[in-house]
């Protein structure tokens, strides 16, 4: 018996693990799905191939799903996310020179993003005074969590991300090389690239994304809204296969096997040991071997991570507004909220509601007021730096 054929695109990153494990460990086949995974080289490709129907589903940056539904940067195609592939998982990595400069200014715990953001402001001011080039930060896409996390962090210290530094898009596989040859001074990217830079001795992990937001939706399983309507049964099976994969990955007894599956050349193609570190949340953060562990580094299924939370969509939409990518409107917010579909998730998994976490506003940002999705305008006014 052959299963229902599906083509699903992904970018080789550790937060695609629920998707990859669902396919390679047979959870998708057990649901009667015959999935062909297609490894892609750019988010633009993933978005376009999903939008025009060459992919049935995709591993997608959460903000790209929202941007596509709003028609930002590309044609407007309503996308829905019935499964959240990961919460957190990014890190900010900086060059040894910038690390030394920041640590010289840091007044307090360097794991505290407010301390490093203020230090960054001083370094930026000193460079300006000395007539040096502005610092350059690499991130993955204009509509990316990496872009918003970097901006949120540095703006808290008084650094204007559009005026005081340069933010440039770089494909994740080019990040490490660009840091090594000085094209960028720092970058924000998902696993495994931060660890790769540390292992090569050319970067220090300054922050885990979880330092900036306790809960930040990272990648989603994305499908076209129309496809979801036309294929409700297939969608249920796809969500169930992903949940089983997420549960598998989160069981520490399976970590080594999961890392092995993910490390294959046609999947993430990075050493299983490096992938294992990310899944365990125990990362080498400095070339001298310093380890840092965090229970929140990357949540694949635990703490309700897999259930799409519309609050996350609202927060990402608020960042698009804050940085001038779109205007705040009722309709826009409504569209953004409708991308994240906990109802589809609950139907498939057979549970009733409940977010399964204890972060008060669902975001847990290190600075600013409690996030209120019903009053984004007031929320944004509380920040000194934003594009009016």
């Amino acid at each position: 018996m052959t299963g229902h054929p599906l083509r699903i695109g992904f970018i080789p990153l550790v937060d695609a693990s629920a998707l990859i494990v669902a396919v390679d460990k047979g959870f998708a086949a057990a649901e009667g799905l015959d999935v062909t995974l297609v490894r892609e080289v750019s988010w633009s490709n993933v978005r376009d191939k999903l939008n025009i129907g060459l992919f049935d589903a995709a591993h997608l940056l959460a903000p790209v799903a929202i941007a596509s539904s709003l028609g930002l940067g590309h044609i407007k195609v309503p996308i829905v996310a019935p499964f959240n592939l990961g919460i957190n998982g990014n890190a900010i990595t900086i060059s040894p020179a910038l690390h030394a400069a920041l640590m010289a200014q840091a007044d307090g715990d360097p794991d505290d993003p407010m301390v490093t953001a203020k230090a960054l402001a001083q370094v930026v001011a000193a460079r300006k005074k000395a007539g040096q080039e502005p610092l350059t930060f690499g991130m993955t896409f204009p509509y990316s969590t990496h872009n918003y996390q970097l901006r949120f962090w540095m703006a808290a210290g008084g650094v204007d991300p559009d005026e005081d530094v340069q933010l440039v898009v770089l494909p994740p596989p080019y990040m490490v090389e660009s840091l090594a040859n000085g094209l960028v001074d720092a970058f924000c990217v998902g696993a495994p690239w931060n660890s790769v830079a540390v292992d090569l001795g050319i970067g220090h992990i300054l922050h885990f994304a979880a330092d900036i937001l306790k809960r930040g939706a990272e990648k989603v399983l994305a499908v076209r809204g129309k496809w979801a309507e036309e294929n409700p049964d297939v969608l249920v099976r796809l969500i169930r296969a992903h949940q089983r994969a997420a549960d598998f990955i989160e069981d520490p007894a399976n970590r080594a096997e999961a890392a092995q599956v993910l490390s294959r050349a046609d999947r993430i193609n990075v050493d299983a040991e490096v992938i294992g570190r990310t899944l365990d949340g125990r990362l080498k953060i400095s070339p001298d071997g310093t380890l840092r562990a965090s229970q929140r580094y990357l949540l694949v299924g635990r703490e309700g991570a897999a259930r799409p939370d519309p609050v996350q969509a609202a927060w990402l939409y608020a960042q698009m507004v804050r940085w001038g990518q779109t205007k705040l409107t009722e309709a826009g917010l409504k569209t953004a909220l409708a991308v994240f579909r906990p109802d589809l998730y609950d139907t498939a998994i057979g549970i009733k509601g409940g977010n399964g976490h204890s972060v008060t506003d669902g975001i847990g940002a290190f600075v600013g007021p409690v996030f209120d999705p019903s009053d984004i305008a007031a929320h944004l006014k509380s920040f000194a730096i934003f594009r009016r």
């Binding site: 750019s42 940067g73 044609i75 407007k76 204009p142 933010l167 770089l170 094209l183």
Partner: protein, 196 residues
């Protein structure tokens, strides 16, 4: 109809042959201002320096995401660019994705004026893919010929056959087993190596 040669076109492609094929086509069509970027370092800075009206990039290029940054209307972006396609033109997106190319234009430029550029680009990309396919086929045919010759030699030596007889034996076996003659030749070579 004469083309509009004053468009400045940049081709971002790591394949020099494909870029040359495209460039030639564009020049023939009257677009004289064509530049190629084959090295992805400092891509945006180089594009700003060339200041093109149209950018063509192959879809296998991870740097495509870098171009999307130019959609942003910010100080960092000198001339905002846009996707070539719009909401009503899903056929164009389909055709270009199928061909493996994507086009970006300076915001405000009328899309119908650029349409011939994209059409030409799609047909040249498709032609290149066909060429590559044929090349692959020729290569594997050559490989197969070598394998058949080796197997023929083995049969001649082991069974004392003439060249023609050895070939006829392989061909009839292939027909009987519904396999390609190359596969039969390969199994003869494998078997002889095991039995050595």
């Amino acid at each position: 109809m004469p083309a509009e040669p004053f468009f400045k076109i940049v081709i971002v492609d790591e394949s020099p042959i494909r870029a040359a094929i495209l460039e030639e086509g564009l020049r023939e069509a009257g677009f004289t201002s064509v530049e190629r970027i084959g090295d992805m370092h400092n891509l945006l800075a180089r594009i700003y320096a060339l200041d093109p009206d149209v950018i063509l990039i192959d879809l296998e290029n991870p740097s495509r995401d870098v171009l999307e940054q130019m959609f942003q209307v910010s100080r960092a972006v000198k001339r905002p660019i846009a996707m070539f396609v719009d909401q009503s033109d899903s056929a164009s997106i389909q055709a270009s994705v199928d061909a493996g190319v994507s086009a970006y234009i300076v915001d405000g430029l009328k899309k119908e004026r650029i349409k011939p550029v994209l059409d030409l680009c799609i047909s040249r990309f498709n032609a290149f893919a066909r060429l590559q396919n044929e090349l692959e086929k020729t290569k594997s045919a050559l490989e197969e010929r070598k394998v058949i010759d080796r197997a023929k030699g083995l049969l001649m030596k082991l069974k004392g056959l003439s060249e023609d007889e050895a070939y006829v034996l392989m061909r009839s076996t292939a027909m009987r087993e519904k396999k390609r003659i190359g596969e039969i030749a390969q199994s003869i070579i494998t078997a002889s190596e095991i039995l050595k």
